[in-house]
Amino acid sequence: MSAASSLCLPHGGEEPVFVEPWHAQVFALTVHLNESGRFTWADWVARFSATLKRHGLARELDGGADYFDAWLETLETLLTETTDLAPKDVNMMRDAWEAAYLATPHGAPVHLEAGLTKKL
């Protein structure tokens, strides 16, 4: 296949179960929604593999951060297609969290209200 196929596999080292906290969060969110009956795991796998395939056309995926980027994209799309969740709702809430972080002094706990107050 491509030259990329001769790349050494990144194995052997110890790695944490989840490299970034948000990887754990998006994983748990997906498993929780599946276990509470929002979608079947077969549906998830079909959608997730399609996302990976699409991303993999542009570049070789290393199974690290790019894997969870694809995971998040799949979950967002699944939710907007199967519930009344609108992309703009997610974008607004994301911006509110960003504003909350920026409005909170370093070291203090971040509350969403700080972002909402600043926005409104």
């Binding site: 596999l9 948000w22 994983f27 509470s36």
Partner: protein, 212 residues
């Protein structure tokens, strides 16, 4: 981590460290779904705790060690893994079936998920990055012996390699060969020899004196 995009004069410098964009998007999803009553934050914490601390290759190693020690257990495991594992309180929360494939001097088994990253979570936990990489997913089927060589595994000449492709419905666990010189070891000592990779089929189990 690269810091090429850092701005020393960033007006937000004194504020909380801003998480990366995907982290903010996940927080947004979690907040919205929690407010709608679709998600219980405590359940999320529990799931993370389970996969971070409680489920991992140690579960699979326990199964392998028991199979090496108890021929009746091994026969039942190979015949109907779901039933046997459930008796050990090991089962797939996504409704998948578990299949155990046994390595022998004639056949070496190796597991991949060519679709995405299907993996026997209940016995091995979350897959490592290499299992999820395009390189492994593409090459495991096409050139398994070369992949095994990359992992430092050289099989005895004439050994057949069989590659199993996991799916949403069926997850495979490799039962590695018990190394020589382990006749006197109990199940706990045997389990300590069994690596995660040996249960995916990308490693062999070394005899105790050679194990590191």
């Amino acid at each position: 981590m690269a810091h090429d995009d850092a701005h020393p004069d960033d007006p937000h410098h004194a504020h909380s460290h801003l998480p990366p964009d995907p982290a903010l998007r996940v927080k947004a999803l979690e907040t919205i779904l929690t407010r709608r009553g679709l998600v219980d934050p405590a359940a999320l914490d529990e799931i993370i705790d389970i996969y971070q601390n409680k489920i991992g290759p140690q579960n699979g190693a326990r199964v392998v060690a028991k199979a090496w020690s108890d021929p009746a257990f091994k026969a039942a495991l190979l015949e109907d893994a779901d039933t046997v594992l459930r008796e050990m309180d090991i089962y797939g929360r996504q409704g998948e079936h578990m299949v155990v494939v046994e390595n022998t001097p004639e056949t070496h088994n190796m597991v991949v998920c060519t679709l995405c990253s299907c993996y026997p979570w209940p016995v091995l936990g979350i897959p490592p990055a290499w299992y999820k990489s395009d390189a492994y997913r593409a090459r495991a089927v096409r050139e398994p012996r070369k992949v095994l060589a990359d992992f430092g595994v050289t099989l005895v000449e004439g050994t057949k390699v069989r590659v199993w492709d996991s799916t949403a419905e069926v997850r495979y666990l490799v039962l590695p060969m018990r190394p020589a010189g382990t006749e006197d070891l109990d199940e706990d000592a045997l389990a300590a020899l069994v690596s995660r990779d040996s249960m995916v089929g990308t490693a062999l189990v070394a005899a105790p004196e050679a194990a590191t």
